[in-house]
Amino acid sequence: MNTDAASRAGYRRFLERHSFIEMNARERVRAVLDPGTLREMLGPFDRIKSPWLPLQGIVAQADDGVVLARGTLDGKPAVIAAIESAYQGGSMGEVSGAKIAAALELALEDCAQGRLILPVLLFETGGVRLQEANLGLAAIAEIHAAIIALRRYVPVVGVIAGMVGCFGGMSLAAALCTHLIVTPQARLGMNGPEVIEQEAGIEEMDAADRGLIWSLIGGEQRFATGFADDLLEDDADAIAAAVRKAFSTAPASAPAPMRSRQVERYRELLRSIDPNQPPDGESLRRLWQPRRMT
């Protein structure tokens, strides 16, 4: 194939893709669930919103930025929570956090009684909502606990598509997922680059250097170093298919040890790094584990 034909084919493929990143939270939920099965819970018309933001002069969104829905995946009952990144940076407040935690806890009750509910989390969050402080953090802790309890029964599948990424306490929630799907546009990290620059100075990290940021915490790097299980292009159909595959291929009888249980392995990996000579993204990949894009 000559380069013209190759670039035309690439262009056509690009045009045929349905961007998942460009969708809002509700559209993402719709794109993942089986068509026509979406049933939203605590939706905007229930008006369960943040009581704290208006006290601080901020207009509250009617669903507090989390879309919760029941539906099916390949005909099997599922529950999905999606975070709306355009509202307060996808931050977790008391209400939005409680919505996710409660959905996972209810799925846990069902699973414990033998009725499997497939849980999916669509992350797009800067972490805790600073205006709601400890209440948001408490909700995030409940989400962590629920994921750990739930994943004994059923894989918990997470997706980070971008462009916000997944940070703070919610990065731990993503790390606790049985199966994590990312795109090259995704970012996964505890402190966001802006926070690091603000706290430690621009010599430590230049948050405007996108190449640097993505080489350290971007989707490709997180996949290459083993912190994500699927690396996919920004395509809604591909992501929806990968979510289904994550449930159908997860080993039911003898599950591999969860990343969060491999404490010694990660201690070993950390010991291989000299903090005085921090590796760049490339050398970290070589140092840890090389993996290729699926």
């Binding site: 207009v59 509250a60 969104q61 009617a62 709306e84 355009a86």
Partner: protein, 97 residues
């Protein structure tokens, strides 16, 4: 933060409720429901104070053309009048979906 209310006469009922938009920078959320009393009610929650006259102009113009009896709540995060018009049109379009 300001709350502003408007009232308009209406000619016909609407079949369902519609939700569009997001309370993101320069954007707004619109919750549209059938109204209980054959009139149109609009409640605007906005983070930007002092624009009541602008809201009135935008909404007067919109409800001069659309005459469904709806109860609308707007949660606004500094949207421009053009964006407000587009979101309202999108919500009304959702009535036909």
């Amino acid at each position: 933060m300001e709350k502003i209310q408007f009232d308009y006469p209406a000619l016909h009922s609407v079949p369902q409720r519609v939700h569009v938009g997001v309370v993101g920078s320069g954007d707004l959320e619109v919750l549209l429901e059938p109204s209980a009393d054959a009139r149109t009610h609009v409640l605007v929650n906005t983070s930007v104070d002092g624009f009541e006259a602008t809201w009135k102009n935008v909404l007067d113009r919109f409800f001069a053309r659309f005459q469904g009896a709806v109860s609308i709540e707007i949660n606004d995060f500094g949207a421009t009048p053009g964006t407000v018009m587009l979101r309202l049109a999108q919500a009304v379009e959702g009535l036909r979906a």
